[in-house]
């Protein structure tokens, strides 16, 4: 615990490498799903910060995944940027676009904000479908071979392992941020905007920052998603994908806690995926788990775990 609070970067790097190499031991047909799980966790964690932490409802997660996927391919094929330059650029671009979305929707809150982000998603989707050669129209784009300096061709398996590592980095970054002055400022402005302002918190800046931070992460997840699927397809990035993400955040808990955002995808994405033998019953299974978790833990998994922890360890149990 001390090591973590002193040297979080070190801890995260070690954990990322460890989990990444552990993941590469998994048989490859499974590894693909594990990679996707990592992507879903990244998105859920980002949204948990945005919605649970800063209280900003957004249905634009699918849009930013599309931004990540499309622009990384465009950057590599049209601009001929190397992979290692393209990805950071795309993440920064996604963050900037997110910041812009946050800025223009500053005056909106709650459902109004959610609806505005749906508008953004729809505009973007239409743009992608009718973008001609640039976006590949209804077929989307195909991923060029992925080349790193010492690895001529990156396999899907290594992408999945890398995704696991980056997921660990994201989770670490989200946890440290939420437990810093910025995370507290987000929770403060969510709970009481007037009181937050009187602490000298620039509420507008903080909201834009929350959008930028989380959109950057979601764009990175979108990049990895496109790598895993070797391309983009506009029919992936729909509103139902956004709604799936929001479901995960709600099940995880809307308190700004990251733990729930990691566990919810495990329960609601990974479990149904692994029992693929369920076939047609898969959706039934998903729905049942969804109902069960919400009925048993009405404020989400993180709150549920917390009350169990308090029962076991007394009220001294820390926030998780």
């Amino acid at each position: 615990m001390r090591l973590w609070s002193r040297h979080p970067v070190l801890c995260v790097i070690v954990a990322a490498l460890a989990l990444g190499s552990l993941a590469s031991l998994i048989p490859s047909y499974r590894l693909f799903i594990v990679g996707q799980l990592a992507v879903v966790i990244m998105v859920t964690v980002a949204l948990a910060v945005l919605m649970g932490g800063a209280g900003l409802l957004s249905l634009a997660s699918a849009a930013f995944m599309a931004v990540g996927g499309y622009s990384v391919i465009i950057a590599m094929t049209q601009l001929h940027l190397p992979l290692l330059a393209a990805v950071p650029l795309v993440v920064l671009g996604g963050a900037a676009l997110g910041g812009l979305l946050g800025f223009v929707t500053l005056r909106l809150a709650g459902f109004y904000l959610a609806i505005a982000t749906i508008g953004f998603l729809q505009v973007l989707l239409q743009g992608l479908k009718h973008g001609g050669a640039l976006t590949g129209g209804a077929y989307g784009l195909v991923m060029p071979p992925l080349e790193l300096p010492f690895l001529p061709e990156l396999s899907v398996e290594s992408v999945a392992a890398i995704a696991v590592s980056l997921m660990v980095v994201t989770v670490g970054g989200a946890v440290t941020t939420m437990r810093s002055r910025i995370g507290r400022a987000w929770i403060a402005l969510r709970d009481n905007e007037a009181a937050a302002q009187m602490q000298g918190i620039d509420v507008r800046y903080m909201k834009v920052l929350a959008f930028a931070f989380t959109s950057g992460i979601i764009s990175l997840a979108g990049v990895l998603h496109a790598f895993l699927l070797s391309g983009t397809n506009p029919s992936t990035y729909t509103m139902s994908l956004s709604i799936f993400h929001i479901t995960l955040v709600v099940v995880g808990g809307m308190s700004g806690s990251i733990l729930g955002a990691v566990l919810a995808p495990l329960i609601l994405f990974f479990l149904p995926e692994t029992f693929s033998a369920l076939g047609e019953w898969r959706d039934f299974f998903y729905g049942t788990i969804l109902l069960l978790t919400l009925v048993l833990m009405p404020s989400g998994i993180s709150a549920g775990i917390r009350s169990v922890a308090i029962r076991l360890a007394g009220p001294r149990a820390r926030r998780v």
């Binding site: 979080p8 440290t176 810093s180 002055r181 403060a188 007037a194 937050a196 820390r318």
Partner: protein, 544 residues
């Protein structure tokens, strides 16, 4: 020397309401300045103007010789801190984190630094943490600093908010009723703290505070400004204000006199033999989750009786009253209503029987108008329109100010007006038992007097009343019995004067520094209660 803060001739109107209409105040460097005035006079609006939440329609404000910046966070950064009249805490953060938020103004780490927890970020975080716990100690916060704050007593929220405001190292501190809901000892502590802050040479602080606690404000402030109907009546030393005819008439009432007098006489006891009491509690236990907040509560209320429950912040008063209406549920013992058990019934069933609670959080519907609030609270009574009108009109005679505001949205009422509305909502149901949780908080002295008269009238009509209060002087002369609650148990009961005397002793015992002996007057029940140990531990912390 020119004043640190100079506001002259401020004007604000909401629709047709002139909330401020010629309000002026000047606060010097290092001064403690008080603002008094009736409910709805515009005091909170003035503070909202000074912190950028409400736009001025006229007038001029200068802070440190400059005009105020336009937005609240810039004003905070310029060095004005404030607390809010109704709790404005961040319920999902711990107490320590709440206070740490106050340091946002002067901490600088950016997003990247926070994310990788850079060296600078760690140092800053440690400093925030250290200062926050120092402030929590200094305001006398009584709970673990890592405690979740949502369920803490109201008074603790107040103290935490003061600590949070101080954390921002302001030059001017605006406090909106900082002592509402605090016990006399805590009020004393806050007064001492404010005085110490003012004379802290390293970091001089000026304070502007709004209060209805008249003795507190007169003993603490260098100067006092009295307002009425949005305008400054007079500004001067406490002695001048106390003598000012206009202030006495509009605000102080009898409080201006040395001792509160002219209070109505206490009625007869109606605990008649044979008939069951209106309410009886037998060995009641209640709490949240597995934690029992109150234990072994025995209480009887006869028809037309007035019962006072006093005790410290966090002693369990609100839990006891809320348990009466079934929220939280009674975990053990019995609650009898005219001899019939009502523990286990739902809140709405209990309320329908004729028990009306005015909770500390006031239970008004903020998005609805005053009139709609009244009407909604009669739902289920199936009143005919004429009957409703008659009840409403007779109530509004008691609360003329509220009637002027009948079309206003309840959420925008002033603190005191909201309080009156909550009372009116309970009274319009004509309950058989009225339960009031700290009803005097936020009310001007004249209104508190009116409240005393009203409660006396209510009892005379045969309605029983239970009042839980920190500030008992106004009800004690009316009450048949008083109970002293400590750590969830009654440690004294009997004639109000005796019980209050015990409470004073307990309070003094907590406030003193140099005795270790528990005063014998507190009695064996107290010495045995688990609270005794906690209290002496707390006393050591505060005394040292």
């Amino acid at each position: 020397m020119s004043a640190l803060l100079e506001a002259s001739d401020l004007r604000v109107s909401f629709g047709g309401v002139h909330a401020l209409d010629g309000f002026s105040v000047a606060v010097d460097e290092g001064e403690i300045h008080g603002i008094i005035g009736p409910n709805g006079a515009g005091k909170t609006t003035a503070i909202n103007v000074l912190t950028g939440f409400v736009k001025l329609h006229g007038g001029r404000v200068r802070f440190g010789g400059h005009p105020l910046p336009g937005r609240p966070h810039l004003i905070a950064q310029a060095g004005i801190g404030r607390t809010f009249q109704s709790s404005a805490i961040f319920p999902d953060l711990t107490a320590l984190e709440n206070v740490m938020c106050g340091g946002h103004r002067w901490s600088r780490t950016g997003l990247f630094g926070c994310m990788v927890r850079s060296k600078v970020a760690r140092a800053e975080e440690a400093e925030l943490r250290r200062m926050a716990s120092v402030w929590l100690e200094r305001v006398g916060f009584q709970f673990p600093h890592e405690a979740p704050v949502r369920a803490l007593p109201f008074g603790e929220h107040r103290k935490m908010e003061i600590a949070r405001a101080l954390m921002g190292k302001p030059r001017l501190l605006l406090l909106d009723e900082p002592t509402a809901g605090l016990t006399p000892t805590e009020v004393h502590l806050v007064g001492r703290l404010l005085k110490a802050l003012r004379s802290d040479s390293a970091h001089p602080l000026s304070i502007l505070l709004v209060e209805h606690n008249v003795p507190f404000i007169f003993s603490l402030c260098d100067r006092v400004t009295a307002v009425d109907k949005g305008a400054t009546i007079v500004s001067g030393s406490p002695a001048e204000i106390r003598r000012h005819g206009g202030v006495i008439q509009s605000y102080l009432g009898n409080e201006g006199a040395a001792e509160p007098q002219a209070v109505p006489r206490r009625g007869e006891t109606h605990l008649a033999e044979g008939t069951p009491p209106v309410l009886e509690m037998r060995q009641v236990e209640a709490g949240y989750g597995r934690v029992k907040v109150i234990r072994g509560i025995d209480l009887k209320v006869g028809a037309g009786e007035l019962i006072v429950i006093c005790g410290r912040n966090g002693a369990g008063k609100s839990t006891l009253l809320n348990a009466l209406v079934g929220q939280p549920r009674v975990l053990g013992g019995q609650v009898l209503w005219f001899g019939e058990r009502i523990d286990g019934l739902s809140v709405s069933q209990i309320v329908r029987k004729g028990l009306a609670l005015v909770p500390q959080e006031r239970g008004i519907i903020s998005e609805q108008s005053v009139e709609a609030n009244l009407k909604l609270s009669t739902i289920g009574l199936r009143l005919r329109r004429a009957e409703y009108r008659a009840r409403r009109d007779s109530l509004m005679e008691r609360f003329p100010k509220l009637w002027e505001r009948r079309t206003q949205i309840a959420g925008t009422l002033s603190g005191g007006e909201r309080q009156m509305l909550a009372l009116a909502k309970a009274l319009i149901r004509r309950p058989k038992l009225l339960v009031l949780d700290e009803p005097s908080i936020g009310l001007a002295p004249t209104i508190v007097e009116a409240l005393a008269g009203m409660v006396a009238d209510i009892c005379r009509d045969g309605i029983s009343v239970i009042v839980a209060e920190q500030n008992v002087w106004w009800v004690a002369p009316l009450a048949q019995r008083a109970y002293l609650l400590e750590s969830g148990k009654f440690i004294a009961e009997g004639a109000p004067e005796d019980v209050i005397h015990r409470e004073r002793i307990l309070e003094n015992f907590l406030g003193e520094t140099d005795t270790d002996e528990m005063p014998p007057e507190l009695g064996p029940a107290f010495a045995e209660s688990p609270g005794a140990e906690i209290l002496s531990a707390q006393r050591d912390v505060h005394g040292g």
